[in-house]
């Protein structure tokens, strides 16, 4: 039995032997090498085209917004700017910062030189995202992407009445996602906790960088561009704010779909000790979910709609994930694993269902029917107002169940 198989309940890989897992790893390594070897002119042309379109779309939208006091101009400009910001963050920024395009050796399109339209400075985000999230995908306590440290994401986490508000937190986090990401790249919660941590020069320097970035971003969207619009100052400000919120809601939804839908696995810290390459691959396979849809949909999600493929090969260019997907799915099928994929609406609904379910005590949502609603509400009231002991007693269930 391998380390990852120690997961007890509903073990989705009980049927796999250690050899199977290593074979999966080898097959995936082969796919990776084949794609790497075939990268060429068309791929380079692809990213350059996307960047070109994005920049022209942004310029055009901002130009239209100069006249945003006219409602049609406001609408067109806001839609265009929202799309431009989404493209910039998802298909361009996220993927370039992953190093997906470093192979081109173009210093203008390189993970070490790129900066993006986001509150979080590229360097800090690369650390928390590329090094922590992609290495420790879905490991509770290690992968902060799981609930961003503020949510209950697994039945095994003890329930507390504070979690009742987690759907609200999640919605607020979605609206201001870029600031949430910046805060969590700074590990704000942990670093503000003690005086010693607060005064750590490294933390202070990083905070300064974030504040500078936020100031620059806000000056651009909320002062300079509105000022350039003259009499359209307020509508342009509103348009820029709307575009930022739309982009935030969109990226939050896409990212939630990647690891939150029902059926996607989370892992214990201890389950990844001594993990092999094959087991790492397997964890990525079990811990990610795809969004199905049109080509435009894939581009707007930055191809994170191919979250499974992205997590297996985070540094392969995103335009290749669609071509890899059938081969990856074939591996899932042959080894009896579930390839989670559904349309955006289904995945978002599923992820939100999980957020709400886990905001409540274990099994509360499943047990509640219109007929027993009053008694269930009474139970919830008791658990919320009672102490630790009450909660433990009410959550206890027969061992044999």
């Amino acid at each position: 039995m391998t380390v990852i198989q120690k997961k007890i309940d509903d073990n989705p890989i009980a049927h796999l032997s250690a050899e199977d897992i290593e074979l999966i790893g080898k097959e995936l390594d082969t796919i990776r090498q084949e794609i790497r070897d075939s990268l060429g002119e068309d791929d380079a042309a692809y990213i350059r085209t996307v960047i070109d379109v994005q920049r022209k779309l942004e310029l055009g939208s901002r130009a239209v917004l100069l006249a945003s006091m006219f409602p049609p101009a406001w609408l067109v400009g806001t839609v265009g700017l929202s799309l431009a910001k989404i493209l910039e963050n998802m298909e361009i920024g996220h993927n370039i910062l992953h190093g997906q395009w470093d192979w081109m050796r173009d210093p203008k399109i390189h993970s070490t030189t790129w900066e993006w339209d986001m509150a979080s400075p590229a360097a800090q985000w690369k650390h928390s995202h590329n090094e922590l999230h992609h290495t420790y995908t879905n490991v509770i306590g290690k992968d902060n992407d799981l609930g961003y440290g503020i949510m209950r994401v697994d039945e095994d986490q003890k329930w507390h009445p504070l979690y009742l508000a987690q759907p609200l937190w999640n919605f607020i986090n979605a609206c201001f996602f870029e600031y949430g990401i910046a805060a969590y790249d700074l590990e704000l919660g942990k670093n503000l906790a003690t005086k010693k941590r607060r005064q750590n020069p490294e933390f202070r320097a990083a905070t300064k960088q974030v504040l500078k970035k936020i100031r620059n971003q806000a000056t651009k969207d909320y002062v300079l561009h509105p000022a350039l619009s003259g009499p359209s100052f307020v509508p342009t400000l509103a348009a820029n704010f709307t575009a930022n919120v739309v982009r935030n809601l969109w990226s939050h939804s896409v990212i939630m779909c990647g690891h939150f839908p029902e059926g996607v696995q989370t892992f214990e810290k201890t389950s990844i000790e001594g993990e092999t390459r094959g087991e790492w691959y397997l964890r990525q396979m079990l811990g990610s979910a795809n969004i199905s849809g049109s080509k435009a949909m894939h581009i707007l999600t930055g191809n994170l709609s191919h979250q499974v493929e992205h997590h297996l090969f985070p540094d392969l260019p995103s335009n290749r994930y669609a071509e890899i997907a059938p081969r990856v799915k074939d591996i899932f099928d042959r080894y009896g694993l579930t390839y989670h994929s559904a349309p955006l609406v289904t995945q978002v609904a599923s992820a939100w269902h999980k957020v709400i379910r886990l905001s409540l005590p274990n099994d509360w949502l499943a047990e509640t029917k219109p007929s027993n609603l009053p008694s269930q509400l009474g139970k919830l009231w008791k658990m919320s107002t009672g102490g630790k002991k009450v909660r433990r007693a009410m959550q206890a269930r027969p061992v044999a169940a």
Binding site: W103, T112, E115, N216
Partner: protein
């Protein structure tokens, strides 16, 4: 690079201050990008842009050589004949940098210049430029550079010894300095008469009496050694000599000129470093970048790093220009030209030329 002494604040012109503020404002409007990132979309060759050029035409010279006509960006500075230019071109999506001699006349009415490229076997860039480059392609450029030029006071008698593509910098000189060069001999070697790059033009120059041309077709007549050159050009000692060609030829000439006591009258130009030795290789860590590369003992660290996607500073790629120098924090490297080992203890930060240095054990490079 030149530096200017900062002037005292009071002397700063209000116009310059205004300009600086305007640039700063434009940067705040386009953050996190720069205004140039948007301007590049519309005019990549404008003044103020990173130096680039556009391929206007590819003119075939021989079966494996072509002159590439390049329209440089507005900031291009006129070159000195004999100099080379570094060009960066995307091949199969990957940017490759090489240096090529400029062969055109100065001040062409169309504002373009040409480089002349001979496709070498397995040469990724040379084959691409000669056989596959298309007009309209944008390439990256550096300003022209190089020392293989005539002195301000051209010598009364000159000798050029070239082989293969070694003719290219010399052609740049011959085309531009016809008036200054009154007594010129050119000894040029190529496999056959058809393989002589610029063959027709050179023979025309000879027919007009501008140069004395000695063609050596090595497929039928074999290679020229230094002694036979001396026999062909009896007044060799009176001539200032420029030589460009394979490393072996250059070394033979240098030896001959040195033994004749006139080493100071010979100027040579190499296109590639001569790799003499290879070592054991090792793991190269780029500590600031966080990348680790396994490099063998025959591959320059520059190539190994680029292969792994690290953005490296680079220049001539033959150990001359020092454009690729980086500090070695710890470890050992071998100079591929002479086998010399350079070691660094932690904190030393010894500067090494990555284009001619291979790993000789584990290396930690500050980059």
């Amino acid at each position: 690079m030149t530096t200017t002494v900062p002037r005292p604040d009071s002397a700063r012109s209000p116009l310059a201050t205004l300009r600086k503020r305007a640039v700063r404002l434009a940067e705040m409007v386009t953050t996190p990008l720069l205004p140039v990132d948007y301007l590049d979309l519309f005019d990549p060759l404008r003044s103020g842009a990173a130096l680039r050029g556009r391929i206007e035409a590819v003119l075939h010279e021989t079966r494996d050589a072509a002159s590439i006509v390049i329209r440089p960006g507005k900031d291009w500075l006129p070159h000195t004949p004999g100099q080379y230019v570094r060009i960066g071109i995307d091949i199969e999506g990957v940017r490759q940098w090489r240096a090529y001699s400029i062969t055109s006349v100065l001040g062409r009415p169309d504002g373009c210049f040409t480089i002349t490229v001979k496709a070498i076997p397995d040469g990724k860039v040379s084959n691409h430029l000669v056989h596959r480059a298309r007009p309209g392609t944008i390439v990256q450029l550096d300003q022209a550079t190089g020392e293989f030029c005539l002195p301000e006071q051209a010598p009364e008698k000159a000798l050029f010894v070239t082989a293969g593509s070694g003719i290219t910098p010399v052609m740049g000189i011959l085309r531009n300095h016809a008036a200054q060069l009154s007594d010129t001999v050119l000894v040029h070697s190529a496999p056959t008469a058809d393989d002589v790059v610029f063959g027709e033009e050179l023979r025309q120059m000879a027919a007009e009496g501008r140069i004395r041309l000695i063609e050596q077709h090595t497929d039928s007549a074999g290679m020229l050694d230094a002694r036979s050159i001396a026999e062909l050009v009896p007044d060799l000692h009176e001539r200032a000599t420029w030589a460009c060609g394979p490393v072996g030829m250059l070394e033979a000439l240098e030896e001959h000129w040195a033994s004749a006591g006139i080493a100071d009258r010979l100027y040579t130009e190499r296109f590639r470093p001569r790799i003499l030795v290879t070592g054991e290789g090792g793991t190269v860590t780029f500590s600031r970048n966080g990348t680790t590369v396994e490099a063998d003992g025959a591959t320059p660290i520059l190539d190994a790093a680029e292969e792994a996607g690290v953005l490296m500073p680079s220049g001539c790629r033959m150990g001359i220009c020092f454009g690729c120098v980086l500090p070695l924090r710890e470890g050992a490297v071998r100079d591929l030209r002479n086998g010399e080992i350079t070691t660094a203890a932690p904190g030393d930060g010894v500067l090494i030329q990555t284009c001619v240095s291979a790993a000789a054990g584990a290396c930690d490079i500050d980059h």
